[in-house]
Amino acid sequence: MNIDDAHEHDAASESEAAERGSEIGASESELAALTADMVDAHADTYPVMRAGVAEWADAEAPAQRAAVSRRGFVATAAAMIAGGLALAVVPAAAAPRARLAALATGESTAGVPLDVVVAGLAASLENLAVGTYRAALSAAKAGRLGSVPPAVATFAATAMAQHADHAAAWNSVLVKVGYRPVTAANPVYAKVVDADFAKVTDVVGVAKLALVLENVAAATYLEAIKALSSEAAVSIAASIQPVELQHVAILRFVLGEYPVPLAFASLGGSAPVSSANGLAFTKR
């Protein structure tokens, strides 16, 4: 199922809900009108993000040279770690740059500026989210998740589209600075998510899995904001992290949990740069 299919699914779900005449179905048209206004407003936010992308591309060449100099310690740290899953050896509370430095390793990321690796990592996590929501919508359509409430289907379709937008943003950055886009899902997390998704049998299971993925993305962006050297890249990450946390809040509500339990966003669960190992960082 592609994104267009998902939107069709979304629309179909709304139509089906209206036909079923849900208990509060009378409010559907009002809600739809309200959200239509918001969708219009959504278009206004794109130029801001695109301006950030352009600014980063303009500044990236000298910034990359500077980054290599500033982060000479990255190579030293990389030599000390064999690569792969080093998540257990660096606590989340460690200083972000030290944490990223300690985890920045692997053949595919060797010699690639840290900001570019972070952009690729972000794109790979977004790709994973898109694929997961897409699989969930397909499973729902096939009846493998039992009864799927219309609001949940709408959430999945909308979140999937937004993650696709995020992936496109990061890939536009990669292309502008001379790299090929990262179109694959994060190889480290995809392996685990695939295994977990195979065990999912209902909407609650999907929501729990989505909640984990959204938390990983949000925490990764929070860490990226701390670590990125490009001001424009920080702006892009800053425009996405709150949206991931909004997904988290709604998912928690769906699961019957208090939606905003933390006063400060957590770094817990952030994806380390080492999880970008295996991604193709190739020059165009």
Partner: protein, 281 residues
């Protein structure tokens, strides 16, 4: 993270308590700030070169925002115009940005406090989920204000204990009209959106790493407040207040309820407050 029962739980290194983790990170940042504060002067108040650099970057970002808004009119355009004027002055720096942030938090604390005195928000007739949300959110804003003021002190600036002066007039005008939960929610959305958008814009402008870390850790939480408030408003306006429960009656919720809380893929900054608006005068 709750026990998700998935393999990801094992993959992800998490603290035993997310809140403690977040607070620990915040404290670590503040401790570092205090240490740095002895070595550094308040940003934007002394160094003319930095002030000019800040003005250049802020002006650039505001121009981008203005272009993004296209034919934006009304409050958003006025805010941008004010922001550009401030940028042209070339004086705001980290302390000023943090003071404005603290002023926004102070206003939120005060406004939610007023809301809790209303019977349909904080009284016996209030929806329990809404009441819990307002109570918890007010506490979270108080924690944000304290954190921003700690950052200001560490940078040898003057803490901001007053509310944002411009938005305060909006709240004062609104108070007599707060006759229903829907009106309170609408006002809260305006305040939360203003705060979230201000932080999203300013996080890239902050020079001090710890001030940036703190702002980044707060902006997403304000966005979460917005998401829940948007959902609450939609359900109330749609006559579906029965959906305001934990757990919610999922099967009965309208399909649109699944997307109303997060209308944009990229967080907007069109109603961000000027960085100097809440500066200590």
């Amino acid at each position: 993270m709750d026990d998700d029962g998935t393999g990801l739980g094992a993959l992800i290194e998490r603290s035993e308590d997310d809140h403690a983790d977040a607070m620990r990170a915040g404290r670590a940042g503040l401790d570092e700030l205090v240490e740095l504060g002895h070595e550094r002067r308040a940003r934007g108040e002394v160094d003319a070169d930095e002030a000019r650099e800040f003005a250049r970057r802020r002006s650039g970002l505001l121009r981008d925002s203005a272009a993004g808004a296209g034919a934006a009119v009304g409050l958003a355009a006025a805010v941008l115009a004010l922001g550009d004027a401030a940028a042209a002055a070339g004086t705001p720096g980290d302390v000023t940005i943090l003071q404005t942030a603290a002023s926004l938090e102070n206003l939120a604390v005060a406004t939610y406090g007023v809301a809790l005195t209303l019977p349909f928000v904080g009284g016996a007739s209030a929806n329990s989920v809404v009441k819990a949300f307002v109570t918890t959110t007010r506490r979270q804003h108080a924690e944000h204000a304290a954190a921003f003021n700690a950052s200001i002190r560490a940078l040898h600036g003057r803490p901001q204990t007053k509310p944002d002066p411009v938005l305060s007039t909006v709240v004062d005008r609104a108070k007599p009209t707060l006759t229903s939960a829907a009106k309170v929610v609408a006002l809260a959305i305006e305040l939360e959106s203003g705060a979230a958008e201000t932080y999203v814009r300013d996080v890239a402008l902050l020079r001090d790493a710890n001030a940036r870390d703190l702002t980044a850790s707060v902006m997403g939480v304000e966005a979460q407040h917005v998401a829940i408030l948007l959902a609450v408003r939609a359900l109330i306006d749609g006559g579906a207040a029965a959906g305001l429960a934990l757990p919610p009656p999922l099967a009965a919720l309208p399909a649109a309820a699944g997307r109303v809380g997060f209308p944009n893929a990229f967080y907007s900054t069109t109603t961000a407050r000027p960085a100097t608006e809440g500066a200590v005068r």
